[in-house]
Symmetry: C2
Subunit: 316 residues, 2 copies
């Protein structure tokens, strides 16, 4: 969106996140402009790493960069405990501002990264192609790996609880890169820690969205780890994915983000197929299969939202 | 391998591929050193693009770079037909040299990229994260897309036939990046073209290996496209993947390449699990789930080969 790009000319991504007035403004931009049914907190999954003692920056055309990556038992030991009400109060202030501004119009969804995806950034120092160092920490030093995951899980559960207390009406946990693992590694090295977070959040009584990509062979295990809504990426037909996570939970998805750059008739065809696969059942939240691409024309997003509303009018 | 790194200090990747004596030497290096059961032709999947009129280079730390990417109907029209016996004779000469040198010791496997994976390089100009331009060509100009895929399929079928005539005793078709597609897009935009290649190769009477990664939701369609052996990546348990492609065909896989960097007991555990999933049935070719990583210790590969031989001794 143009409004966002204007702000980004004057502020870094971290500065925007850390200035509640601006972060709230960015959170609210899509609501009026696009007519979406929920607001998603503007923040970054790496924010809780800073108070743990991690120095990070977002480098143009490269993405996040961590200057002191974690590789050893001592590195893990040095990670500091986080008090979200203090250390991340700017996020909670954004949540409060947005709730006040929305005034009940649409719900606000908070979020955090999942322990695996955050660990991959911590260990690799940024984006990764093969997750070599991440997997090698698991394989070579499983006790160090588990200690790191425990620290992350505790931090993330506290952080999400604080977001909910500040007013988030649902939270989403992003395990964006978990699809690089096979089911056995997921079960051994990731599932216990992600499950801990969902267990800690259960009592908060809000919808818990569990999101990943490339998870076609992991869906049953993601379900086992927890959540009440499961994100499906575009690689799996929505009906098949829903069967796999269980039709007693809700699903979110699953338009290929690249499809939003296609001509409108092509977008329409794809949206219709997804809604048909959802079969008008309650519990399907229409969404992209992964984050929106910066190149996406805003008017395509607005047209897609309008179409989804029109085609699903009357369904619960 | 050290021998390979020594050569690479003095020759570019393209120069090595284009000098049959050196390419044959590299092809043979793993045979004595590692004890593997087959030789894989040393070449690059992008080689057949050069005689089509594409200018390419391999850039350090970045991978392949194409200087004149394909985006329009005219670009596709300008792609030249390839006569492998002329334009790629250095590859065929390598095949002949290796066969002579091997003297029946182990079979030689030739290979080529699949049309989709080559199209993605041609269109994006190199590696890609989201395959935006590739998918947009499909969605915006399907007739241009199909013409490009037809040209690639014809070139690749001719190229593989020439490799087989020169002495390759099996061929592998690498659709490394096809896992970015959903099944419906694969069926519409890719399957007909890949199927054409397998159809053209059928009469050659050699094993045809069909390889991809991230293909958990595509396996049935890969089978439909063709092949007599199917590559499985590490994300899917071998037995589940084998059921999905059909137990009447062979499978190849599926150790996570990163696992080869792990301590030996960890490698052993993983190899045992894969062999157990294969159940000693004929038609399982032990392999990695994707290409070997440059960081892999050679002695780990040798130990893995030795272990697979020991554990599967007596099975057909």
């Amino acid at each position: 969106m143009r409004e966002f790009r204007e702000l980004r000319k004057r502020y870094s991504l971290l500065d925007l996140c850390k200035t509640p007035d601006l972060a709230a403004q960015v959170t609210l931009q899509p609501i009026d402009r696009l007519g979406v049914d929920a607001a998603i907190l503007f923040a970054d999954i790496l924010l809780p790493l800073e108070p743990m003692g991690i120095r990070l920056a977002f480098v143009k055309n490269e993405g996040p960069k961590i200057f002191n990556p974690i590789r050893t038992a001592d590195d893990v030991k040095a990670l500091r405990p986080v008090a979200p009400e203090e250390d991340l109060r700017y996020v909670l202030e954004t949540v409060r501002l947005v709730r006040r501004e929305l005034n009940g119009k649409v719900p606000l969804i908070g979020f955090a990264g999942a322990p695996f995806t955050l660990a991959s950034y911590l260990i690799e120092g940024g984006h990764s192609r093969h997750y070599i160092q991440t997997k090698l920490l698991m394989y070579r030093a499983p006790e160090v790996w588990h200690r790191l995951m425990e620290k992350l899980a505790r931090t993330l559960a506290d952080y999400l609880r604080a977001q909910i207390r500040a007013g988030a009406q649902a939270v989403q946990i992003f395990d964006s890169w978990v699809g690089c693992l096979n089911p056995e590694d997921y079960r051994l090295y990731v599932l216990p820690h992600t499950r801990q977070i969902f267990k800690d959040l259960e009592e908060m009584g809000v919808p818990l969205i569990h999101f990943g990509t490339g998870t076609a062979t992991l869906l049953e295990l993601l379900r086992e780890a927890g959540g009440t809504v499961f994100g499906l990426d575009w690689r799996i037909p929505l009906d098949e994915g829903w069967r796999r996570v269980g039709t007693d939970v809700a699903v979110q998805g699953n338009l290929d983000p690249v499809a939003l750059l296609a001509p409108l008739p092509e977008i329409e065809k794809r949206i219709k197929l997804i809604l048909q696969q959802a079969g008008g059942r309650p519990g399907h939240i229409f969404n992209l299969g992964h984050g929106i691409l910066p190149e996406t024309p805003v008017e395509h997003v607005a047209a897609a939202v309008e179409l989804v509303h029109r085609l699903s009018a009357g369904t619960p």
